[in-house]
Symmetry: C2
Subunit: 558 residues, 2 copies
Amino acid sequence: MSYKSDIEIAREAQKRPIQEIGAKLGISSNDLVPYGHDKAKISQSFINSVQDRTDGKLILVTAINPTPAGEGKTTTTVGLGDGLNRIGKNAMVCIREASLGPNFGMKGGAAGGGYAQIVPMEDMNLHFTGDFHAITSAHSLLSAMIDNHIYWGNDLEIDTRRVVWRRVVDMNDRALRQITASLGGVANGFPRETGFDITVASEVMAILCLANNLKDLEKRLGDIIVAYRRDKTPVYCRDIEADGAMTVLLKDAMQPNLVQTLENNPAFVHGGPFANIAHGCNSVIATKTALKVADYVVTEAGFGADLGAEKFMNIKCRKAGLAPSVVVLVATVRAMKMNGGVAKADLGTENVEAVMSGCANLGRHIENMKSFGVPVVVAINHFVTDSDAEVQAIKDFVVSQGSEAILSRHWELGSEGSAELATRVAEIADADMGNFAPIYPDDMPLFEKIETIAKRIYRADEVLADQKIRNQLKDWEDQGYGNLPVCMAKTQYSFSTDPTLRGAPVGHSVPVREVRLSAGAGFIVAVCGDIMTMPGLPRNPAAKSICLSDEGEIQGLF
Amino acid sequence: MSYKSDIEIAREAQKRPIQEIGAKLGISSNDLVPYGHDKAKISQSFINSVQDRTDGKLILVTAINPTPAGEGKTTTTVGLGDGLNRIGKNAMVCIREASLGPNFGMKGGAAGGGYAQIVPMEDMNLHFTGDFHAITSAHSLLSAMIDNHIYWGNDLEIDTRRVVWRRVVDMNDRALRQITASLGGVANGFPRETGFDITVASEVMAILCLANNLKDLEKRLGDIIVAYRRDKTPVYCRDIEADGAMTVLLKDAMQPNLVQTLENNPAFVHGGPFANIAHGCNSVIATKTALKVADYVVTEAGFGADLGAEKFMNIKCRKAGLAPSVVVLVATVRAMKMNGGVAKADLGTENVEAVMSGCANLGRHIENMKSFGVPVVVAINHFVTDSDAEVQAIKDFVVSQGSEAILSRHWELGSEGSAELATRVAEIADADMGNFAPIYPDDMPLFEKIETIAKRIYRADEVLADQKIRNQLKDWEDQGYGNLPVCMAKTQYSFSTDPTLRGAPVGHSVPVREVRLSAGAGFIVAVCGDIMTMPGLPRNPAAKSICLSDEGEIQGLF
């Protein structure tokens, strides 16, 4: 039996006009700002008008540590959303937007897969509604205004060696990682070292995704620390007077984007902060608006549950006052096998023992998620090569952990395949079994927050950090930043900081190499490994084979 | 009597849904790709469907050399379009899009002024439909792919000292004019000097504005010369294999944008190449599509007629097979006075003598435009301080030149004020009096083309160029580029290359400092002076006072 590719399925989608999708949520066409016939932004006046409604149930989809086998977290998010609609629930999906640049390196990430996808897939992997371009513009304006301030006399006494605000572009361009700017003489300013990150790594992205509204956005933009003086006092974006104009550039980008699944159910696709140096979730404004218009909101967090779900809970939910009713933890037979030591080439062969051995990784994530006070359901995202015995092995393991696992065939069958999962998830959400709380309080010292995550989530024995880092954290506490949550930047492939340590490692150490303050976004970043904020293109970038066919269809992007 | 500001008038506009505006042109809502409720792109299938129709009449609005007094070329373009509609003609306007970056330096350029404006003004000065962001992305992809090619082994043997493709950003950022990139070690590539231009200076912008369709766009992108080898043979974009992916990034940007005037008449606003190192006109696809759906199409060209109209005729019309039926040359009493030696502060005082003396500049433009075989009407764009005697002086002068001048009050009165101008312009266009031809043939040697423009349009005695430049032009002729037109980059403030020489200077020389080959766009650039392709921000950039009001209205942008 042969299967259609994601793009083939997406192109066969019977999309409905976006006004019809909005109507399902009670949003009139006047409150939809259309971008083409299949995308729309939600007007702020509509968002204002629903603030008194009670919230729907929030469902977080997360996953085991990612492996090259693929887990299908977004696919399951979309499939679960469709499944909930199929069983008669008013449900919607909230996911992140894709970054444009990386699609020209490796073949692009679709939004889901098989029969659980969000469309229009092409647009979502290209310019979409322009949000990321707006973020690039706002970031670039601040960059230009900082150097312009220095050029015209530097009244703020910025130490040009201590400008921490870099530049961004939504392109994989390693040549821009480190540059010397303002060369060429007097008219071009004072030469200094700087560099570019990719747009999703911009603090503006994290801010947009955590801001409650435009006023909050402007305040947070003003709070960004852009540089330090010789005496190490910070210079803020507000001092540069860029916050107002940046807000103007971001006013449309701030509004959630409505699109649809293959089954014509509504989805918000909005925001996309990095999941390492930022919190890796879709926007607060999209999630909160979704909770006002739908009874069930299915969302996801970046990477595995140790990184993505932890930040979702400790950063996004804490800051936005959200509480998930249930966590859906995605696992696959193939990924369990890889965690159990099987090579990628051998995944097609039945190997129940390897599945059982790999389940250690799954077990720890279940335990971790429960420690936030939220009930957990494991979704086994079905692959057509899975054997019944392998699936049963996971189910048995999960039951032994006091939880339950449900096989879901949304990739192959759409909502017909996810109805059972949806039914059980809705029951749990409706039962209000959760008692959500972040795992550390606001007023815990910053270093202890890092230790709490490392020990309780990663199961490390210790956190290693030299005195300079500890002093820096102390300084920030003295400056009033001690109440911020911590955003961990470490490898997504392991609970530890060693990407090759699969399964459920113990006895390891977490070295903190560097700490950064994202004062506008409102978190401290603890960098525990090499974090690349500007990817490069591979030897044969996907761009070389991307083109338009004679019929105007995009080739090579997927 | 006090007058409302442009932004006050624009905000009071009674905009009609863009589908209604499209219907006036016979474009169904299926063929309009909406961007909000007041902007839409025209589908390619609609454009394909009208190719067999006969063309409407093309009317070019140009102006005398700009002065700080302002001439109101766009205002007159919009006013004339509304005037034609008022007298019962099926007419539309085609103008360029605004660049985002510069609006954060100086207060932004509205699209027209007074009661002759295009709306939505805010969007048009910000992200609009994302065209310029798409151009930035396409340009940036090629930049990244060039350095990536070098990084992975440089099979094409690019001489890294001779990479001529720079980077672009749509922001005034002088710190990026000259940089050293790829610093930081092996993983970041081979350090080399490069820099950024503003997006409107990108050859991709010029290409998009000259391409007839997506296939032509892809071909021209492939033709871009990005670098040279040690033996000075060129390396093309096609060799880097970026042309297909760039086309995909530009596929939506290629479609014309439909908006409306204050009087709800249709306007295409599409493309915006620099008017110095590029040709400074709106896109060919927009102009050609407009000619299929309207009986009269009013368009404009950048700067004064010596630069803008000359390039419109010799580059855009030649390449696109267009022929203007009539040229409307915009003059004002105030600008005539400045050309006659009056300081800006004294413009409010009646001074008929200065007007008469300044008319020399107008006279030469009339003569020049006629030399293209096109009839000329002078539009005196009325300012409320103009005296009757001053207006009459211009009219008398123009009659003495064998042409006619009509006072137009569109700024104050909208189409009521421009109906007389519209009536006369339509009569001339209908009379088919024109016999358009570019002023030099394709097969003239390149240096002679430069001389032809300098002598016949600028009235210079000679063109100065050292042997290196002459040899370069010869080389390009040998390589098959000899048939290209020439794009002159000189000051817009004078017929000469000295911006302070107002009026109608004679006996001057035109020094060519540098020549560049835009092989994709299809022209040779002759640089005759300091041309800034990356502006800086002023000491107090407009951005500092741009913000959102509590009501969500943009402040400080206009």
